[in-house]
Symmetry: C2
Subunit: 140 residues, 2 copies
């Protein structure tokens, strides 16, 4: 599996907004997946990270704090075109003003996030490797 | 998380065809996700399983043979409505005539599977638990 940077057609897809599913591992070693919003950003040092913003009370946050490894599948517009990013949570940051939450929400639907009364945290996922399938399979 | 059976609106979604992402765990304990087709079936004993058909040479097959635990997120028609099934591969069966492969392919697009020259296997995933989000969150 290649490492970042991404070929232009893969980057176009990842910049989204696209439907995505995150996979993490629970303490018992079993996988768990869920649909998620995300935001791809350059880290300023030639690498890429993905912001995933979570309700701080979710079990997924506990799982990720215990095992920071992440797989994120970003879906394209056909049944099979998709890109998977493998990485790990390199940093956590609180989001008391919902700044990240709103930025990601606006990216998807143009509006601030509607739920304002729950603590949110942002997982900064450093992307180690990626793979593309379907129409992007041979993207270079 | 509830166990099967599924409330009617959840079953309607799962019967699809819907876009889905499967999550498995690699031998190093990290998660990996990929878009997949699937087919939900009753097992005849009150339980439910999901068929996932795979190219036998895929690493995902090796990962699943080593660790049969599966998470499958089935996406609905909005950003956030989705159902996640947690289970494990209870049986493997070869698919020399591509009977499963074609059945699943027809379910998605009406046609037999176009690639005929690669060995396929079917993972029969027994569903242990499920959870629903978004519009299906409170489905009973």
């Amino acid at each position: 599996m290649p490492r970042p940077p991404f070929p232009a057609p893969v980057l176009d897809l990842l910049r989204g907004p696209q439907v995505a599913v995150i996979g993490v591992v629970r303490p018992d070693g079993s996988p768990v997946t869920a649909a998620t919003w995300y935001l791809l950003e350059e880290d300023g040092a030639g690498g890429w990270h993905v912001l995933v913003n979570l309700d701080d009370t979710r079990k997924r946050v506990q799982h990720l704090r215990a095992n920071p490894q992440v797989s994120l599948t970003v879906l394209g517009d056909s049944w099979y075109t998709h890109v998977t990013l493998l990485g790990r949570v390199a940093a956590w940051r609180d989001d008391p003003d919902l700044a990240d939450t709103d930025r990601i929400s606006r990216h998807y639907n143009g509006d601030p996030y509607p739920v304002r009364d729950r603590a949110r945290v942002t997982a900064v996922v450093e992307v180690d490797r990626w793979t593309a399938w379907g129409a992007l399979r041979d993207a270079r």
